[in-house]
Amino acid sequence: MGLRRVAVVGAGMTKFMRRALETGRELSWQAASMALDSCEMTLDDIDGVVIGTAPDAFDGVHMKGEYLSDGCGAWQKPVMRGYVGGGTGVFSPIQGWYHVASGLFDVVLVVGEEKMSSCHPHPQGAFLTIFDNLLERQLEPNLIWIFALEMHRYMTAYGLSKRDIALVSVKNKRNALDHPCAQVAEDITVDDVLNSEVMVWPVNRLDVSPVSDGAVAMVLAAEHVAKRVTDKPVWIDGVGWHLDTAYWTNRDVSYPKYVEYAARMAYRMAGITEPRKQINVVEPYDPFSYKELHHLEGLLLCGKGEAPQLTVDGVTQRNGDLPVCPSGGLLGVGNPIAAAGLMKVAEIFWQLRGEAGKRQVPGKPITGLAQAWGDLMQVGTVVVLRI
């Protein structure tokens, strides 16, 4: 197709925190200015801005993209907020990609922000309003209901045990011990997960990522700029996104077909025909322990129902054959929704450049993938990066 090449050239992030003093605009600025500093750019170099942030009902600010815009470096610039629920964090760089690949922009700043702590009595309350306004909200559902329903379906379809799924939490929370921004890094055991309070069976407290405040930013540049500003550009070689029907109760939720479709779209663009062989490091979306597994399968990195065994076998450890969530993921680093997704893309950027410090996976990875998921178990967003 002869697409214009787009690279990630810089990234920055704040700590992920249960509650930050900073406003959402201040968090955005902290991450965005760090991303600019990391590639020795200034706001003058930025042609356009993309903002990713999830439900306005968390921050309690209507038109939240507008509210955040000056903190995201968008003063008197073209700025857009793209939105696919939980998938937003990985969608934002996709949106940045099409800004640059279109030829209309050379350098774009991408910022993901969430400040969930403003929401009372608990940010979970805001999730009531993601359910259908006419037929579901009346049942007073909790967000975790639908994950529990999906997890149970997944476990039943493939005969999986909670013990094997809990290993994901253990791995990611331990990986996060090496992440300086992590909110809930911990060295725990499978039994700790299984013995933690049951929220909505089969989901226990330690199967779930926390609510968080935080921001992440990255700088995207066209090839000619990227090569000028860095000797280690990380190329966005594939992007994909798909959104399935809203009628989630009409679907078989045991398998995330929308993730597979998004992955196939990105693989086609990146020329990936054998994902398991060609991808060296992965950051799939892990807001719940089983989600990492579900997504590895949707990404075609293993067969259906096989991801738990990969985890049991240690394949997905940082020093394993296919390192998965070396950052610590949402389960360990935290889950400021759109920022968390963008954190995953930033992690792959740092891993491919060999700049991930104590989290660095061995073997000089060349190709990495970040993926997010969202809405009513409905959307998959995928970015393939290469150095």
Binding site: A20, T23, G73, S117, S118, C119, H120, A126, N133, R137
Partner: protein, 160 residues
């Protein structure tokens, strides 16, 4: 149109009520925290100044939106007097109902600031307000201040 059939009886029209059932508790931010503490404790306005852009933010910012410089160490006091840069007379409340007493609202540029404070005007009739009017902040008594923009009751004209 589009749908194969339509509702043709008004009694068949249904709607379902709902709301966004959450509350919010906002932290004021790094800059906001200091700004309101200064008002609460000292009854003064502190802004932040970007030396490069020669712009003094009021309300203060942690950062310069124009050049992205950090301004945490660039605090400056600005005056509690200023001029009206724009004003309006609000006749309707948030429900869209007529206010018993129309409310005067203005953009006020405090002396030494470039940024504008949005607030109410008091002790003045609408017909006497004009752009350029000199006004002064009227604070709530110290013990009633809570760290809110409402710690300022309103701006009143400065006798010329």
């Amino acid at each position: 149109m589009g749908s194969p059939e339509q509702i043709s009886q008004v009694e068949d029209i249904r709607y379902v009520y709902g709301e966004i059932p959450v509350n919010y508790a906002y932290t004021l931010g790094v800059a906001g925290e200091r700004f309101f503490r200064e008002i609460m404790e000292k009854g003064r306005f502190m802004g932040t100044r970007c030396p490069q852009c020669e712009y003094t933010y009021l309300p203060p910012r942690l950062y310069c939106e124009r050049c992205f410089a950090g301004l945490d160490d660039q605090w400056v006091e600005v005056g509690s007097r200023g001029t009206v840069e724009a004003f309006t007379v609000a006749h309707l409340d948030l429900d869209g109902q007529p206010l018993a007493e129309p409310q005067l609202l203005a953009l006020v540029r405090l002396e030494g600031a470039d940024g504008l404070l949005v607030h109410r005007l008091g002790q003045i009739e609408a017909e006497d307000v004009d752009i350029g009017l000199l006004v002064r902040a009227v604070f709530r008594p110290r013990r009633q201040r809570k760290g809110s923009i409402l710690d300022i009751r309103y701006f009143r004209p400065v006798a010329s």
